[in-house]
């Protein structure tokens, strides 16, 4: 038995159902069984979404980025200009969202003030989001999303940022579908 105290009891009845849902009340019925089409299969991907250090060098130049993260979420190559803690986290990253809505990321990028362009890679829909110091590519398949991003404090010393991430995203897509 659980006794629940909730702000909802103080609030208008009109809002009550929303509030209850947010409180995790077990009084709500289960998810509707209507015919919402289930998403198709997502990506099948390995470490770093199929991209090697050699691919990074080919896309972004030699001795600029060093691989620092290899996790099940994705990978990150640190830009070598890091000094102390300045520049920490600047570099190239890729992530694989295994069950996530691309529109969530789209609205975050919009809020961050980046320019957005729709695109399609290897038959999958996506978009790119960019400004002077960053360019990210998002591609969705089924319920999955794969991203490629570059962020730098030194854009002038690199190729066009979106050219770099587009090349990596294209190559990656050829290996995860």
């Amino acid at each position: 038995m659980a006794a629940r105290t909730c702000l909802s009891s103080l609030l208008a009845a009109a809002a009550a159902s929303t509030i209850l849902a947010a409180c995790g009340s077990s009084g709500q019925s289960a998810a509707p069984t209507t015919s919402v089409p289930a998403p198709g299969p997502g990506f099948r991907s390995g470490d770093c979404n199929g991209i090697t250090d050699a691919d990074i060098t080919a896309a972004a130049g030699a001795a600029v980025f060093t691989k620092a993260v290899v996790s099940d979420a994705g990978c990150f190559w640190q830009e070598n200009s890091m000094f102390g803690t300045v520049g920490a986290g600047m570099g190239i990253s890729t992530w694989w969202y295994r069950g996530s809505d691309m529109d969530t990321e789209r609205s975050l990028e919009q809020k961050a003030g980046r320019k957005l362009t729709e695109l399609s890679l290897d038959g999958n829909k996506g978009f790119k989001a960019y400004d002077g110091n960053a360019c990210s590519i998002y591609v969705a398949k089924g319920g999955d999303v794969i991203t490629w991003s570059i962020q730098t404090l030194n854009p002038a010393t690199l190729r066009d940022l979106c050219t770099i991430t587009e090349q990596l995203a294209q190559l990656s897509q050829e290996r995860v579908n």
Binding site: G24, D72, A73, G74, G84, T85, W95, Y97, G99, S100
Partner: protein, 173 residues
């Protein structure tokens, strides 16, 4: 909205274990109010006893880079330990898919329970000593991953990952 914070629940009698489902089926752990997994950057920094934290990437996946120890190149002082952390929230993901992937990639898996959530730890060292703590939660699955960059010893990344997971799951009660 933020009303959730106003909810509390008092459980009396025998504790029930949520064996089949999760205790928080309607909870979202998405990026909101500058927090990933409901945690402020300062909480992550504190949990890992780090001096400095940046979050270069935020969304369904959040990435952090932290440093612990001396952060300026100093005479006599050891180089700072860089700690990489990622958080993932997959709202339509599943614990089974995450476990299968971690197994396929060669991690050492330990099944566990964290704050009444079914969970597992996955230890796999690649670019450092690293471990993820992953739990079924809300509608999907969430995971904290911790790495001591470039290191093969000193500290247990599984313990730190589990601490972060526990902090996220605790903050909803």
């Amino acid at each position: 909205m933020v009303v959730v914070a106003g909810c509390s629940s008092t459980v009396s009698g025998t504790a029930r274990r949520a064996q089949l489902g999760v205790p928080d089926p309607n909870r979202s752990y998405g990026y909101v109010d500058d927090r990933c997994g409901l945690l402020l950057d300062a909480s992550i920094q504190e949990t890992l006893s780090a001096e400095h934290v940046v979050r270069p990437y935020s969304g369904a996946v959040c990435q952090y880079v932290l440093t612990r120890g001396e952060t300026t190149p100093n005479v006599g002082a050891g180089a700072p330990q860089v700690i990489d952390v990622t958080f993932s929230w997959f709202e339509t993901g599943s614990l089974d898919r995450e476990r299968a992937l971690a197994t396929e990639r060669g991690a050492t898996i330990t099944e566990t329970d964290v704050e009444r959530h079914k969970a597992f730890l996955a230890r796999r060292d690649t670019t450092g000593a690293a471990c993820s703590a992953t739990a079924a939660a809300g509608t999907g699955v969430l995971s904290w991953w911790v790495q001591f960059r470039g290191s093969s010893g000193g500290g247990d990344p599984c313990q730190d990952a589990e601490k972060l997971l526990s902090a996220t799951l605790r903050s909803d009660l």
